[in-house]
Symmetry: C2
Subunit: 344 residues, 2 copies
DNA sequence: CTGAAAGCGCTTACAG
DNA sequence: CTGAAAGCGCTTACAG
């Protein structure tokens, strides 16, 4: 039969559609006999309910959405895992969606909320600078932005956020290198695209240099994309310029790996000839050889905290919060103390 | 206003809902004046249409679904990119969905088709052994299974598939190692979970050994999961057993990287002390140091071909096809020719 | 425990 | 070019 629906099942079972709906939703107010009969028929005809119809009608979806910016980001995947756990603990379902094109993040978010009648949403990454107060408020669904800056002060009353202090974290990473004796420190970062975060990390880099009275040299700064290849190329450029760099700070692990590979490919051993520090703390870095030192973002905690805040807003009607989580320097094998500039 | 709908917009604009719907769908049969007015109002009120309602009613969604098994798989991400390109070329939209829990893949697929009124679906990975002919046929939506074996002969008339010859590819990888002089070759693979594919690759491994008159030793075979960590541990086990292995074949790059890291961590250099070959051809292998030799699956081609077949089924009503694509041995820096067993 | 009816927010012939 | 009406496949009070 072409696309069975609830009415067809009802007819075959000799009951009303509403009864079929009840067994579909596992309601208790159906006799076991009727339930059994209907379940059998559904099985027999391979009936699969239409979610669009359900979403349209439903009020309490009992589900929380997770909207991820981009596709394929190992950094987010750990966060997602911890989010899913926590959502399940609350007896809710999670629906995972990727915003892989460059459409407006907030519009996509609202669309999703409406379409699936979500009771809450956490956004991983994305741009949420421009929020329409009217729109967000009238939606009446709590939104938590994780791992993306919301900048505008007035946004703070509309959504919650869970972030790290990007500037401080970058500062600490570079400060660490300086304390190891490095003075010629390259920066490999992403560009204008992720304005807020990228800029903050660059700020941190500069601040650390200033603290150590090191001159900021634009030549030492390479701007690329969030890919291995881009990190690789950035390192090549840096090395080609012959600036006698002894260390590099990459603002993402993916780029750090690319950079490290470029150095190793030239026969520059890590950390003997060049020190490298990454950012994010993705699993990859631990399996690179040598294992990469990195400024770790607390991925699980970002997930947990987001959900904690979300359910606080949902069930206890708390106010929006803006939590800043601590990063942690994971010292591994890619950074070395130096006395003076090693020439190579 | 709480959740505007098409009726509200219509009322404000002083037109009928159907007219609003027309501008929403970019139909040409609306006067520019009316269109402008409605567009303005939508903008002003931040109107966002409800997709569930749309999906429910619509017949030609003009969209192709992509259902990905699992979450976060770098191997699939390249395929997805090429799929998206090709779908766009055809003037269709793509909707990307992840089946991250362990629910039945074919049910999830059908649910998705119904919910979003998809005109075609490509599934990346998953288990499609048990297909209900009735159900698939009545659906009347072409399905292409990529990178997953469908085994059952009778399934071949219901869905198309794009795969590689897993046994042959594994055979060639191991044959390559044998030809380099290796005889003690470890196998690191995934287990019972991905029955079809895992088993086929193990078969290939065994066949290659047989061809070279090498005894198959269960001790040389480690079964784990698709993670770095699992590859790492498998290698540790292998090494602990002191079997004088000189090479390892890992049935996925992720595991190969874990394995390589384990070897390097013990001070066993690659390829001098141990050769490693992976499978899949993900980008990371090229950035590992030393760059890993791997049996590459043609990721872009898997994507292209899937879409080509899909539109063949959709527009030209062709029959279901089962394409087997060629893999390619990418020789890099992790395998070495040996004369005799190197002791370590 | 079960059924009849209304309605979720759209789209789509049909008529004008 | 525009509107009135039917209906997509469900769920949910309401009544019994």
């Amino acid at each position: 039969m072409q696309n069975m629906n609830i009415k067809d099942i009802a007819k075959i079972a000799g009951v009303a559609p509403s009864t079929v709906s009840r067994v579909l939703n596992n309601r208790s107010d159906v006799s076991e006999k009727t339930r059994g009969k209907i379940l059998n028929i559904m099985e027999q005809y391979n009936y699969i309910p239409n979610n669009s119809a359900r979403n349209l009608k439903i009020i309490d979806s009992n589900t929380i959405g997770v909207l991820v910016k981009g596709i394929y980001n190992p950094f987010f995947s750990r966060i997602i895992q911890s989010i899913e756990e926590k959502i399940a603990e609350q007896g809710y379902s999670m629906t995972l969606n990727y915003n892989y094109n460059d459409s407006n993040d907030i519009d996509t978010a609202i669309q999703l909320i409406k379409e699936k009648k979500l009771e809450g949403l956490v956004c991983l990454g994305g741009n949420f600078e421009h929020l329409d107060e009217q729109q967000i408020k009238s939606l009446n669904v709590p939104i938590v932005i994780a791992s993306a800056n919301i900048i505008d002060q007035k946004n703070k009353s509309m959504v919650s956020s869970v972030t790290i202090d990007n500037e401080k974290a970058a500062f600490e990473a570079v400060d660490y290198l300086c304390n190891l004796g490095h003075t010629q420190i390259g920066l490999i970062t992403t560009g204008i695209a992720d304005r807020s975060i990228g800029r903050l990390r660059i700020q941190g880099y500069k601040k650390a240099l200033k603290k150590h009275n090191i001159r900021i040299d634009e030549n030492l700064m390479e701007i690329g994309e969030y890919t291995f290849e881009s990190g690789y190329e950035a390192m090549e450029h840096l090395l080609d310029k012959n600036l006698e760099i002894t260390a590099v700070f990459a603002t993402s692990d993916i780029m750090a790996i690319g950079a490290a590979k470029a150095a190793l490919s030239r026969g520059l051993s890590i950390p003997e000839k060049i020190s490298i520090i990454g950012f994010d703390g993705i699993e990859y870095t631990n399996y690179f050889h040598p294992a990469l030192t990195t400024m770790r973002q607390p991925q699980e905690e970002i997930g947990y905290k987001s959900i904690e805040i979300l359910f606080g807003l949902l069930k206890e009607e708390k106010k929006h919060q803006h939590v800043i989580l601590k990063t942690e320097l994971i010292q591994r094998k890619s950074c070395k103390r130096i006395k003076r500039i090693t020439s190579y």
